[in-house]
């Protein structure tokens, strides 16, 4: 029964996607003009053939490579810096006093608004784009890490201290592994905003890259080309967030998970973390889970 329902659900998902494409095709093929105007809108077929053409060119893969390299560099930098800063703020009063206010002032500024800063500070456009991507992903990672570290049970640290462990041991054996579920909540959010910012930055100041190409197509009124860009961004985003998700599951294999599969209501494989603040609280405190206490 559960297998049947799983296949059924897959069918529904595929059906939903196909229906959306079908509706798009119909609206555009018949040039529907009901307040929303579909005359200029490319059809699914046009986008598909444009995509097929582009995929055969070296330029397409070059753009893709540029965007990927930028996001991977920026995101990894943000991950390292965000975890380090978040941990420091959560663990040290000095760090909290020195960095805390600064972070709260810079955080509300959209990363893409930092373009002038990037242009002033950094010698090349390339570095500017990486800087903006990094700035975008940094804050979700920092905030999630900070909350996750603060939510750690003090008993774990005390246990390690009474085994003779020092600060470094507590950091590596308790703080960082214990915060990982929350950190990955932040990384999931971070990779999403990193894509938004890498594409926007490429549109503004890039040479090469998917965002740059998409904007170029728009300026020469190549609408199927614009949609090819969008599809490419979507696919790349799916790829990178899946990688983050799988890595997260791998390093948090120790978390208690519901045993039920298939029938269990799955809300989109846990990637969208609603607010970084709530991620650690829900994810990394195994203690209050309902537990039976059977006689061993």
């Amino acid at each position: 029964m559960s297998a049947g329902s799983r296949a059924g659900r897959r069918l529904v998902r595929a059906g939903s996607l196909l229906a959306a494409l079908g509706a798009w095709q119909l609206l555009t093929a018949y040039d529907v003009n009901l307040w929303l105007r579909f005359e200029q809108f490319p059809t699914v077929g046009e986008v598909a053939s444009a995509l097929a053409d582009r995929v055969g060119t070296a330029a397409y893969w070059q753009d893709l490579g540029h965007s990927l390299r930028r996001i991977v560099t920026g995101f990894l930098l943000a991950a390292v810096l965000g975890v380090a800063a978040g941990t420091a703020i959560a663990r040290s009063r000095w760090a909290a006093d020195l960095l805390g206010p600064l972070v709260e002032v810079v955080r509300p500024i959209p990363a893409i608004a930092l373009v002038p800063v990037a242009i002033l500070l950094l010698p090349t456009n390339e570095q500017g784009i990486v800087f903006i991507t990094c700035a975008a992903a940094f804050f979700p990672v920092l905030v999630s890490t900070r909350h996750a570290v603060r939510a750690l049970s003090p008993g774990w640290e005390e246990a390690v201290l009474t085994m003779g462990g020092g600060r470094a041991r507590v950091l590596w054996s308790v703080v960082l592994p214990g915060a990982l579920p929350g950190v990955f909540g932040g990384l999931s959010v971070g990779i999403g905003v990193a894509w938004i910012c890498v594409i926007s930055a490429e549109m503004i100041s890039g040479e090469y890259g998917v965002g740059y190409r998409t904007w170029q197509d728009y300026t020469v009124v190549d609408y199927p080309g614009v949609f090819v860009g969008m599809v490419t961004i979507g696919a790349l985003g799916l790829l990178t967030s899946t990688v983050v998700e799988l890595a997260g599951r791998r390093v948090t294999a120790w978390l208690p998970r519901p045993a039920a599969r298939g029938a269990a209501p799955r809300t989109a494989p846990s990637a969208p973390v609603p607010a970084p603040a709530s991620a650690p609280a829900s994810a990394d405190v195994p203690a209050p889970l309902p537990e039976k206490e059977p006689v061993p």
Partner: protein, 253 residues
């Protein structure tokens, strides 16, 4: 009592530590001090059980002995030297499992050995031995959350003792277990402490447990000490001296 199933500990026993509180005022640095000053001496190798009404500072006492909490006044010493902070000499066993959930059962038991710098192979061997001693040899690769509450407390015991502490401070370690499991755990504790020589301070709210396990019983908040006539002897449960002691402890609460 008899070590029928368990093998004796591999290394020669270390001498237990002598712990002393000298006119200590217990409390938290934020100002919530407990009334009175405590004078207490725990002899090397003895089992001192601590009973008292809830909120009387039993846990605070243990954390102060461990060095996690500085006393508000007075001094804490181990073998005459002041205790300035937590250390591997005084292991703490918590009521709720303080096992690190991201480490397998084996890796949890190996942790104090890793901290002490024991090499990987010896660490593995020691951990396996301790897990066998607490009857969990087949569970080494599991995550803590896959064990029952009683099993997790056994892992905690193994982990605390694997570090070869000279004193073990236990904070109601069996408090969350059902009566049957609890009796089994008391016997297990008695068995595996045998030969370690470690001093034990065992906090409990269960008078029967205190009377059974202790060499002496400390009553909080007064700090009065009572001798136990038949320590760790199940057969003497109904002996007149034991019954009289139980009554005295109950009256004091």
């Amino acid at each position: 009592m008899s070590a029928t199933v368990t093998s004796p500990p591999a290394a020669p026993p270390l001498a237990g530590a002598e712990l002393a509180l000298d006119g200590v005022r217990l409390g938290h640095p934020d100002g919530s001090a407990l009334p009175g000053r405590l004078v207490l001496r725990v002899a090397p190798g003895e089992v001192l059980t601590v009973v008292g009404p809830s909120g009387c500072g039993k846990t605070t006492l243990l954390r102060t002995l461990a060095g996690l909490l500085p006393p508000l006044a007075g001094g804490v010493t181990q073998d005459g030297a002041p205790v300035r902070g937590p250390g591997a000499d005084r292991a703490l066993v918590f009521q709720h499992d303080a096992l690190l959930p991201w480490r397998s059962v084996r890796a949890n038991v190996e942790l104090p050995l890793a901290i002490r710098g024991v090499d990987r192979a010896a660490r593995r061997r020691d951990a396996e031995e301790w897990l066998e001693r607490v009857g969990l040899a087949g569970h080494a690769a599991r995550w803590p959350h896959q064990l029952s509450g009683g099993q997790r407390q056994r892992v905690q015991l193994a982990r605390a003792l694997a570090g070869r502490p000279r004193a073990v401070l236990m904070d109601e370690p069996f408090g969350a277990l059902d009566a049957h499991t609890r009796t089994g755990m008391q016997d297990l504790l008695t068995r595996i402490l045998d030969g370690t020589g470690a001093t034990v301070v065992f906090v409990t709210h269960d008078v029967d447990e205190a009377v059974h396990l202790g060499d002496r019983i400390a009553l909080l908040p007064s700090g009065r000490i009572l001798d136990v006539p038949h320590p760790r002897d199940r057969a003497a449960r109904d002996a007149p001296a034991t019954a009289a002691l139980r009554r005295r402890v109950l009256d004091s609460l």
